[in-house]
């Protein structure tokens, strides 16, 4: 079995937002849709004892995705390899899934023609992935802060990282079982 997952190495992320722009140009997204924003609190602490981390967000491709269950027309669905995606032809843009997603990972563009609108979300670049390539945000990341692969393959980088390091997930308490893992930056420079 294959189970795709992503690891965000916050020790390496520098908040350049290249993934944000790359995803938007590769997928030719309208201006009001972002699949993977990079967020952070800015620099915190008291000068010069300060710290900063960045958190790249993306669809968590949950193991227990609320967005597929609530879809009335089966447009929002999950494949066997874990990728959650929306079949745009079936979608009627009712936004039930938009409301159900605790990660804000999907939305309808206000810039689409009303009758041709559908819910857009990250699909792990499934066309690329199934041809053996990496999702575009992973390929474009200069810092190699995003690692993608098959969690069920014990030799994959994601499997080694998730099983070998202390990783965090976002809102695991909601029971969605998100499949994007974060390696926290404990950081700190010597002054």
């Amino acid at each position: 079995m294959t189970r795709y997952a992503m690891v965000m190495d916050q020790r390496r992320c520098i908040g350049c937002q290249s993934c944000t722009v790359a995803c938007r140009t590769w997928n030719e997204l309208p201006l009001d849709i972002l699949y993977n924003p990079v967020v952070g609190e800015g620099v915190v602490g008291e000068f010069p004892h300060v710290h900063q981390t960045f958190t790249p967000l993306i669809c968590m491709h949950c193991d227990n995705p609320p967005c597929t269950i609530c879809c009335p027309c089966k447009a929002s669905q999950q494949d066997e390899d874990g990728i959650v995606w929306v079949e745009s032809e079936k979608c009627m843009a009712c936004k039930a899934c938009v409301n159900s997603c605790p990660y804000g990972a999907r939305d309808v563009s206000a810039l689409d023609a009303p009758l041709h609108s559908y819910v857009r979300k990250c699909n792990f670049c499934k066309d690329r992935v199934r041809e053996g390539e990496l999702p575009y945000c992973v390929a474009t990341c200069h810092q190699k802060a995003r690692i993608f692969g098959d969690l069920d393959d014990p030799n994959s980088d994601v499997s080694k990282l998730v099983n070998g390091l202390n990783t965090n997930r976002i809102f695991p308490e909601l029971g969605t079982d998100p499949q994007v893992y974060y390696i926290p930056d404990l950081g700190g420079v010597k002054l």
Partner: protein, 877 residues
Amino acid sequence: MADTIDIHAEGVEVKKSCCYFCHQNCGVLAYVKDGKVLKIEGDPTHPTNQGGLCCRGNIALLHLDHPARINHPLRRVGAKGENKWEKIPWEQAISEIAERLNAIKAESGAEAVAGAAGTLRTDDWSRRRFFNMFGTPNVFHNALLCWIPTFMVETAVSGWSPFETDLGDSRCVILWGFNPGASAMPGMRGYSDLRKAGMKIIVVDPRYSETAAHSDLWLPLRPGSDTALALAMINVIIMESLYDEEFVNNWCVGFDELWDHVMEYTPEWASEHTWLEPELIRECARMYAKNTPSNIQWGCTADQLGKTSGAGMHARAILRALTGNLDRPGGDLMPGPSHTYVTDEELEANDWLPEEQKAKQIGANKFKMTSWPGYQMIADTARETWGKAPTAEWMCEAHGPSVFKAILTGDPYQIRALIVSATNPVNSYGDSKMTLEALKKVEFLVTCEYWMTPAAIYSDYVMPIAGALERPIVHNNYGVTDHLIASQRAIQPLYERHTDYNFWRDLALATGQDVDQWPWETLEDAFYYVTYPLNEQGYVHGSYDEFVEKYRFFYPPVHYYGYGRNGFCTPSRRVELKSSILEELGYPALPTWIGPAENEIDDPDVAKEYPLVLTTGGGFMPYHHSEQFNIQSVRFLRHEPYFTINPEKADELGIKDGDWCWIETRRGRIRQRANVEPSVDKRVIYAQRGWWYPERQIAPGAVVPDEPFGCLESNVNVLSSVDDEHCDPIGGSWANRGLLCKVYKVDYWDEVETQFSIPGSSSEPGITVPPSKQKLAYEPIPYDPKPDFEVPEGLTWDKKTKYAWDLELGLYYDKDSGWLIHPETQVYYDLYTKYAYDPTDNTLVDEATGVHYDMETRQPIGGVAPVSAPATTEGGE
């Protein structure tokens, strides 16, 4: 749309192109079908980016056919700056420009034509080739803010500026005023990898930058005080005996003088200037000097500090030498110019520029290291050592701000025409109000551009230029390194766009230059000329495109300890800690402290009114300089300008996060929004660079505002200073960092000011002190070396060669042996009789008569034929 475009479909070609939105030139694979680029992605096999692309690289397709791009040559109709244009054919535009340039040359001399450019976004050697053959020395870039003064000063001291660092084997690197986390993405990946492998990273930056967040030691110094830090580090390394004694003894000159000189520059002394704890400075010096091999990575800051810059560069060169890090494994490499492929310098045709024109270069009488006087010395020494010289484009230029001042004042002479390419001078050169006024006033202005910029709007002609994906690119670090990365164009230029090379070539031919001097019709032909010698290295190719497709890179094997063979590329063949080139040009021979352009210690009166310290010029994602502000898909990330202020100070001033505030210096004021964040000291303001508002389009027929596109509103260069007293007398860098400022909230009736003044720091509007009357930060020290021996009667002391000469016979006096020596034949002559020494019979011979004389008595040896006795002594000692 990724679903609908199949990049693997039949007929889709993959072109090995590269990104052209900053200097990294990351590799890009372009999928092309029927002359149309379908998709681009990072090239996983490219050594620089390994598949990565940043925000800018990813928007190449949006840039390619952006609706605001200039696609046809535009000729001004109506008055200058009215924004009324007509499209004309390329050839017509070229011939009209050429006619006008020739007329100006005939009336006022070629030097009345100047050329401004930006930063590595043109085919620079062809620009220089055109201007050299045209006959003007007044060509410039933003080079003086970006590495070039560093290169020249470090080359004067140690023979080459180590641009390349052998980081793989390094144990410690100082990222000095360098934030790869926002300006060199591929580099940052490397630093993260190396740090994981154990390398120490020291970051010198007043702001808690993306890079500082990933460092082992962070030195948040007062902006502009870098030179004090460097001097104190030398002091610590010498006083604690951390220097590489063997290297210093064998390869350095002037160490004893340096020792005495830096005695006073203790960490305690530096603490006052840098605001750093002395212990922190000591720790930095120890970490750098003990973890050898170690590196100092150059950062732009070095060249943007104004009058204190030159000494800092010199001090950093000394740090590299003292620690023995030059040209060793893991150290700072000094490859010299390429010995194989054709360098940029060889394409520039510098010999075509007559000496009397070189002497007219604006700024060359003040800022000598980066103009013809200093360049000539460096180039001569380099030719002796490497056989090739560094590029003149970049390294040898007119002083840009002085050219703008010459347009306004006619001092030293009137500049009548300006050709601007790949730059938006209002945003990228210092003192924007003055620069904007110069662009408005210059008699004939041509701009080669992608967009309608504040410079383009005042032009007589705007020429459309090919961008990324439309041009082949050779990347070789300004022509001063020995490797080369080649990329091809994905498609031919769209519309009537041309490459810069074709612009300069067409203009050259139209102004009457010989077609034989411009034999390459396309840029590919010219680059094939560059790569052709690589055929001998086993890189077999029949065209430039074939080279790209088959090889793409040329990396010669790394040679360490290159100085072991020929010595260093300096006049004495040693690392000149006490630099003879600087001394000869009239600068301090040892790095001597001088404060940054404005500072609270030297200018307490200024500090009273402007109590905060401003730093500008740092890069931030997603923009590069003043570019990409027109592209929505990156502009949405940062759509408004922000300056950073410490929360404590913001509280004191009643400023809240997001408030629009004025930042004011003696030159003027700009408005940006407050980013209240503890990433800077409470005395420091960090302002973003490059801001203009291209979205404020000017409708056809509408009145053009005094500052089109809001180019003075949030532009930090309104605050920077290009006054001669603030510029570095050595390299001409003007002051972007370490300036004094104040910050206050914007009132809604406040207006943007456009009134310029020369000098910029003057409180009076207009021209109060003409440039030739302006003083430098320190006066040149007259270079007048005295002989350290008694000059014999009848001989003349020459301070250039430092020998006493017999001018009649062309012989120099060797003080050790007491003989005169012929510099070419090396024959020895008697000092008193001027007879030559004949080693075959140990006699003196009068070359005119052939009579031999006795060595001791100087009496003729009558009728004695030369004896064929074996010579017992060699030479004359």
